[in-house]
């Protein structure tokens, strides 16, 4: 057993050390200075090894400090009633929830896969050694940290020992149940993917943990001790069952899928991105188009993604109809408020910038365009032809504008109507100006999103976002819009600014796309 412990420790430590070096190599700016031979550097490995051991030791205590302080002590003190009783109540029920979703044995980790299947270590011994370590860490962490909290709340410090043993016993009972379930049904529990019933079993104690103190019904100090001691005694038999269980290899054969184990976290994220984006495609093959060439290509794309694209726009439409409908009702039934509404439209029209920004879904449409279209098409050289890039840019721009204008039209008509109902305007041109300006803002957001995409295409072939500039520009755009939105301006002034800016921006942006996109619109490395 000690040999297995030594090997297991060595393996996990190597794994953690290399992970630390890998993390170091991911740091922006530093990564370029670090050589690829870093993993061979013995001194660095020793330092990282020591750091990972220290981290491990710290996690025994710090994890428990955060858990007991943030999730238990602070809510106990905040809720009405006795803090110590609340504390024990929350601890009791959270432990049950925790045991149901965090057992260690049913956690499909990569190091377990490497040890059992790649390095062919004895599955039973490996599992038990790791479980003993896990229990030891739990015991040490909970006894010492809950000791401090018990002192803090004037509870008998012997309770800290009961608390630690209660946690361990609950986990033993749950593990034993899951192992028995496996021997009877052949089904293995994956604690990272609980089924529906397990979710219910996790959520009920969670609700009781915080719900009972809210209604002043926390379990009493004595009841906690009695139930905990019974659980501890009951936990002995399951613990023996866990030790005697001999089929851990078969359990892990089902739990540890080699396809998942061979993937990095980034791969898994890419898989999720890919699966989600593929789900957005309408499977109907009856969708057709009368258009030709790139118009045909884009039209089929839009139609096959209509569920995704229109759902978002329709939501915005419904939102605008409801909100504007309510305000119209106010203008009719509460005419006293009309001057305020009228004045707000007259002097606070910049606020529509931020409203339209939120309603504009072009960023999501463009993301789908990459995931389900450009990601594959950019590997064909004809698709990277400068003329093709620009032609498709224009085709896409028109089609996204058409989609987006649906909701903006509702907003623009609604605002113009509101202006009229709330007391009209001195200058009748304001109606037209406001209407045109709101539509222009929507068109500009679409253009801006598309221009950013063509000039800073941010994704790599694994569908990961790789451009910091793209993210920064997106944030900066939002920040500027936010600043403008809360400025006061007359309709005439606001419209003049928007329309002139839009004209200049459109010309510059389109020229930049024409000139630079052939170089920038490609899959990132």
């Amino acid at each position: 057993m000690f040999k297995v412990f030594k090997e297991s420790f060595k393996l996990q430590n190597t794994y953690k050390t290399n992970s630390k070096i890998y993390q170091l190599k991911q740091i922006f700016l530093i990564k370029k200075m670090l050589p690829s031979t870093l993993y061979a550097n013995k001194t660095l490995k020793k330092i990282m090894g020591i750091i990972s051991i220290i981290t491990e030791i710290c996690s025994i205590f710090f994890g428990k400090i955060f858990y007991l302080l943030l999730l238990i002590y602070l809510p106990s003190a905040y809720l009405s009633g006795n803090t110590s009783t609340n504390f024990l109540n929350i601890f009791f029920f959270l432990t049950i929830s925790g045991a149901l979703c965090n057992t260690n044995i049913f956690n499909p980790t990569k190091d377990r896969y490497y040890a059992i299947f790649l390095l062919r270590m004895d599955a039973n011994k490996y599992t038990l050694v790791n479980y003993y370590c896990y229990q030891f860490k739990l015991f040490l962490g909970f006894t010492s940290i809950s000791f401090i909290f018990c002192r803090l709340m004037d509870i008998n410090v012997a309770i800290s020992l009961i608390m630690a043993l209660f946690v361990i016993s609950c986990k033993n009972i749950v593990i034993c149940y899951d192992l028995l379930k496996y021997t009877k049904t052949g089904n293995v529990t994956n604690e990272n993917a609980p089924h529906k019933l397990r979710w219910v079993a996790i959520i009920i104690p969670l609700v009781l943990a915080y719900g009972l103190p809210i209604i002043n019904f926390s379990i009493s100090y004595n009841l906690f001790i009695v139930i905990s001691l019974i659980t501890i005694l009951l936990g002995i038999v399951p613990f023996i069952y866990i030790i005697k269980f001999k089929q851990y290899r078969s359990v892990y054969k089902l739990l540890l899928n080699p396809n998942d184990m061979s993937k990095t976290t980034q791969d898994l994220v890419s898989d999720i991105n890919k699966t989600t984006s593929l789900k957005a495609i309408n499977n109907s093959v009856n969708i057709t188009s009368n258009k030709v060439g790139y118009e045909y290509f884009n039209d089929i794309f839009i139609k096959r993604h209509s569920n995704l694209l229109m759902k978002q726009v329709n939501r915005a439409c419904i939102f605008f109809i409801v909100v504007i409908g309510i305000i119209i009702a106010i203008t009719i039934f509460f005419p006293l408020l009309n001057p305020d509404i009228n004045s707000a439209i007259h002097s606070n029209s910049p606020i529509f910038i931020i409203i339209i920004y939120y309603a504009n879904r072009s960023r999501y449409i463009i993301s789908a365009m990459f995931m389900n279209c450009d990601h594959s098409m950019l590997s064909y050289r004809f698709y990277r032809n400068p003329d093709v890039i620009f032609k498709l840019f224009i085709v896409r721009f028109k089609s996204i504008v058409k989609i987006e204008l649906k909701s903006t039209l509702i907003l623009a008509l609604g605002i113009v109507l509101l202006l009229f109902l709330s007391g009209s305007t001195i200058n009748l041109v304001n109606y037209l100006l406001l209407f045109v300006t709101l539509l222009t803002i929507s068109i500009m957001f679409t253009l801006h999103s598309l221009v950013l995409y063509y000039l800073f295409q941010p994704y790599n072939k694994n569908l990961q976002m790789k451009s910091y500039i793209f993210i920064i520009l997106d944030i900066v755009t939002f920040f500027i819009l936010y600043q403008i939105a809360f400025e006061s301006a007359s309709i005439l002034y606001f419209s003049t600014c928007v329309l002139s800016f839009s004209l200049v921006y459109s010309v510059v942006a389109i020229c930049l796309v024409k000139k630079l996109a052939p170089k920038t619109f490609k899959i990132r490395n």
Binding site: L278, V285, I300, R304, N372, S376, M377, F382
Partner: protein, 235 residues
């Protein structure tokens, strides 16, 4: 026609993948590109296809004694992991492709004949490409490149995902195509390379070199290739 590569260099951070490649590929030949895992075969193809930026070097086409730069339409690239627009059916993809390239391609078959050539039946033609298997996607990717008819075809392990019948037909097709093309074909299957290719070039240590078969038997030639890949002098 010749494709002349001069002084091609490519590094990733501190790792030099392509050291200083100078090589001339000629029309009418299938080149079997062999290299050990991680030797840089895909990087070499990506450089030629301008998928990644090269550090230095040039690609020139020499045709009828006239030199010019390599252009987009000169190259067709069949990737080892096929990529096709998954929101289209195979028929829609082919229709679109033919439509946008009608001025450039010489259509000697109709759409149905092209599908027949790749053994894609009618039911599959009307299926979304997202529901295609790896091998079927690969067929579509190859078909697109065959129709586009570029003078240089880069193929990154293209036959491994095909069933034996289709793989055999593809081999015949490639042999027919070589007359008017430069075909560079990377594979790890040496038998396939020796059987299909006119020249064997190896990418070793960041450099491309041709291996002369001379009068060697296939078995002797294999040993020679392996020794070259190992970096051992010929025994």
């Amino acid at each position: 026609m010749q494709l002349i590569i001069e002084c091609l260099k490519k590094s990733f951070e501190d790792k030099i993948v392509l050291k200083d490649i100078s090589f001339t590929f000629e029309k009418g030949k299938i080149y079997g590109l062999l290299g050990r895992n991680g030797a840089g075969k895909t990087t070499f193809f990506n450089c030629l296809n301008e998928d990644i930026k090269i550090d230095s070097g040039s690609f020139t086409i020499v045709e009828n004694d006239v030199s010019r730069k390599l252009k987009n339409e000169d190259i067709g690239y069949v990737l080892s992991t096929p990529v096709v627009p998954e929101f289209l059916t195979a028929k829609e993809f082919l229709t679109f492709f033919i439509d946008i390239n009608k001025d450039k391609i010489n259509m000697n078959k109709n759409i149905d004949e092209y599908f027949e050539m790749m053994r894609i039946d009618e039911k599959d033609q009307n299926k979304l490409l997202k529901d295609y298997s790896h091998g079927m996607k690969n067929k579509m990717q190859m078909l697109i490149n065959f129709i586009a008819n570029p003078s240089i075809l880069l193929m990154d392990e293209p036959l491994t995902s095909f069933d034996v019948v289709v793989a055999d037909e593809m081999k015949k097709l490639l042999k027919e195509l070589r007359t008017d093309h430069i075909i560079i074909f990377s594979t790890h299957i040496m038998e396939l390379a020796i059987d299909l290719c006119d020249e064997i070039v190896i990418l070793n240590d960041g450099v491309i070199s041709e291996i002369d078969k001379a009068d060697l038997s296939n078995d002797e030639f294999k040993i020679k290739i392996i020794n070259q890949l190992k970096g051992v002098d010929n025994v």
